[in-house]
Symmetry: C2
Subunit: 560 residues, 2 copies
Amino acid sequence: MYNDIIKDLDPLFNPKSVAHIGATNNRNKWGFSTITSLIHTYKGPIYPVNPHEDDIQGITVFKKVTDIPGSVDLAVFTIPAERVAAAMEDCVQKGVKSAVIISAGFAETGPEGKKLQDEVLAIARRGNIRFIGPNCMGYWSASSSLAAFMMPLLVKDGPIAFVSQGGNVGAAVVVAGYERGVGFSHYVSCGCAADIQIEDYIEYFGKAPNVKVILTYIEGINDGLKFIDVVKKVTPNKPVIMLKPGKTQAAAVAIKSHSGALAGGILRVNTPEEMLDVAIGLLVQPLPKGPNVAIITPGGSYGVLCADACEQEGLNVMKLPKKTIEELDQIFPPRWSRGNPVDPAGDRNFIAYLTAPVRLLDLPTADALIFMGFGGFTLFGNLMLQQRTKTENTLKPEYVASRDAAIKAIIPVIEDIKSENIYKVETAIKQLVGMLGLVLGIKDETPIEDLATILIAARHSGRLDNSLVDDLLDLTKGEDYIISKGTTRVAIINDMISRLMRSMVSQWIASYQKPVLTTTFTEEQVKLVDDHYDYTSGNRAARVLAKLLEYHRYLNQISR
Amino acid sequence: MYNDIIKDLDPLFNPKSVAHIGATNNRNKWGFSTITSLIHTYKGPIYPVNPHEDDIQGITVFKKVTDIPGSVDLAVFTIPAERVAAAMEDCVQKGVKSAVIISAGFAETGPEGKKLQDEVLAIARRGNIRFIGPNCMGYWSASSSLAAFMMPLLVKDGPIAFVSQGGNVGAAVVVAGYERGVGFSHYVSCGCAADIQIEDYIEYFGKAPNVKVILTYIEGINDGLKFIDVVKKVTPNKPVIMLKPGKTQAAAVAIKSHSGALAGGILRVNTPEEMLDVAIGLLVQPLPKGPNVAIITPGGSYGVLCADACEQEGLNVMKLPKKTIEELDQIFPPRWSRGNPVDPAGDRNFIAYLTAPVRLLDLPTADALIFMGFGGFTLFGNLMLQQRTKTENTLKPEYVASRDAAIKAIIPVIEDIKSENIYKVETAIKQLVGMLGLVLGIKDETPIEDLATILIAARHSGRLDNSLVDDLLDLTKGEDYIISKGTTRVAIINDMISRLMRSMVSQWIASYQKPVLTTTFTEEQVKLVDDHYDYTSGNRAARVLAKLLEYHRYLNQISR
């Protein structure tokens, strides 16, 4: 069975048809949420099974699984525990290949429930039915767009596979991932794991082509040695991030004592938040080759806290060579920090702030860059732009934190004082052209009028995504566009500046093959940019970088 | 000077008039942001000073401070460093009482700047002018509604006083506080602190009646012994939360070695986020009398992680007495965890979930309660309610995370399927009446029709805030209200359920005088309730509780 993990679990993750035993029209039962979840996601044939219903949401209901005319790859159970064994017997008769038992009331309730669970397991084994659960929240498989969840979950397709022994922790990580724009290839709430074990899922994820990073929340492991064996095979190719409460120390000791090297293969984290932070880091960053980190910060104290966090995480806040300091002397005013963290000390020239990182990344000794204040330019830029003078201000001034609110607040300004607004637009366009210069490698003295020409060239360079080029081109077409979008040029330009900054960071990562972690000041700022891969503090960025380094060192060690 | 701290700093925090040396119409200078910040906040006379301007935002500009006709309590400096000394001389001549020097280019730049700074200090001392800075971001004083900031900051009135050696860390904490609904009485970015020292501000805050909690971000202390002396006087009455990078170890050692007791008086935190978390805890919670904590969680794994975090923070996840377990047996179905953390194991009866905490708080041995999943009912409630069946679903189903989005998604449902919606409204009203029963102490079998009567009674009981009563009464007036608000009854009711839950938690805190810390699953959920005092994880709640206990123990120790 062990060598055939793909064959074993494929009917579960890529079923050609699904029966739902316990589907119902009663909104007060989990069977209602589950069938609705299935109907909204899965495109193949769905067969609701319930002796007391005829029609569920327009689909014919069958009394028993054996009444279903077609073949059934997957059976979803939401019926009470005491009726699961009989229904599983039907599934064996029907030739069902896999199952998920959401129903609770098994091993978790004591010896009686354990007996029931063993009975169900024996029946399933006899019919070669592999199953998730019991006592779980369900699962998600992106490859067949199947969400068999007992509650509506926010989930989208992506390269992360996740098996969780805790349904709520799992659900929260999945939802938080959704909010940050990160998707999942698989998510399994494994519940009591009577049949398929944590390590089975991990082995499968290790072999599944749409998985890049594996997450697991573990409270206890049944077979520690098997777990270690699987992890050893998987981690050389894919990192496994483990969240594990310290309480189950026995298992932790079992894992650690067996293999020193393993500690590097499994990346342990302390909170669901950190789990997602590290997963995002592994997805979008190359691994650092060493501990030397350069930091650039728009504010001294942020740099101090970040440097402190880096040292605590075992990273090295590197000393800058004289040559680099001299290069940065050319870029920043004399008051800059002249050391690492690089702090322009309140200099408002953010083209300079975006030029300096290249000097740092150029250093062969620099293994990584933490770029602080990402999104901050947009936030403070919007706040500054909407800071109206007394004479122009007919409305109550509003200090706002979100992009939407900023846009709303700017609209009256553009309507009231055209000339003032034109000033703002020109200043912003100038910045934008400067940034385009950096991104596209053109001179930043390019006249504003040449924007359209540059953009048409950019379309062919492949260095900007087309939607951004189109938006930028629209900008050159004047005021009608602004009104039709219900917003202002200033807001649009600031938004584009954010997107350009993102492009630049991506380019740095790609050309230097070094991690560049971006941080913002507040949660709100994270949402000012299109994806939410930023970390809200230097502490979080430092922690992620340390985990990336841990994984690099592990890979180095095993390859020797 | 030391004993007259109130007299010394009062002109700064309650000035009767303000001169701004360096006010400008040039949007590219900090002097523009600063004067705009002043004009938008301060109600007293403002005198812009700039030899090159005549009118700034409709206000007459003076060439020099000495040209101003009226008296000047405060001078704000945003002019270049090399011109500060001469302008300060003018201030001495004019009899200005206090100043804030935002201008950079002093001690932070090296020996030359230090010399300049000493010169400015000597002039100010001669004229008895106390000043903030130089090289700072400005400050906020709620008592005179004065924001002299070099950039627009989101800040509102409240009981927290904050002095920060880091301008950006300070700004981020203030903005994050604003986002969470927490206000500041004072915020000072103290910069180089040439004149007024960190400990001077803390002493002043200790004596200011509108301050309840004091925050400070410190990189280094000039006079460690004086600092300790001040803190010793302040902390018996008001907690001081300190964020301090570990790098400046010398100062840390100086503080620690001097007095063991002091460690309890100053609450050290590791991140800006934790600083705000602990401040909110100290503001809204009583101190725990001991380490015993009860946990209630809507999901097992969340409870496990929280219990783990509590133990790591030195708290005790208490064993529940047999009697309490039996009481909870009456409330929950048999599958509940029958221990601490209390986990109803998927039971959907949330009136039960809101009844159980009282049984835990009743225990004389329970020192605190962590109430997990706050806001989650609203989130998942909204998600469940909008989970449309296939037959009723003409629109694409949307899994949404925010309240606004949920409301938008529900609107088409209410329009399309009235009958379905009525079912939802009745279910929700039933829950609402049940909760009103708990809050107001009435029976939960009260017919829905009696809602208005109950509410009119509630208005007089003082147990609900009037705006909530009004909104609830509106609810009984039928569908017109719904449409006029542009939302649905379901969404409104869910919102009210959140507000009622908040009322209940407040009542528990008030009547038991024990801390009840609430947690949510994600950042989004925090924003589903009116104020954002919840913590996003059990880890954060446990950390705060540990700090509250630390402060309790310190107070106990010094009172002995």
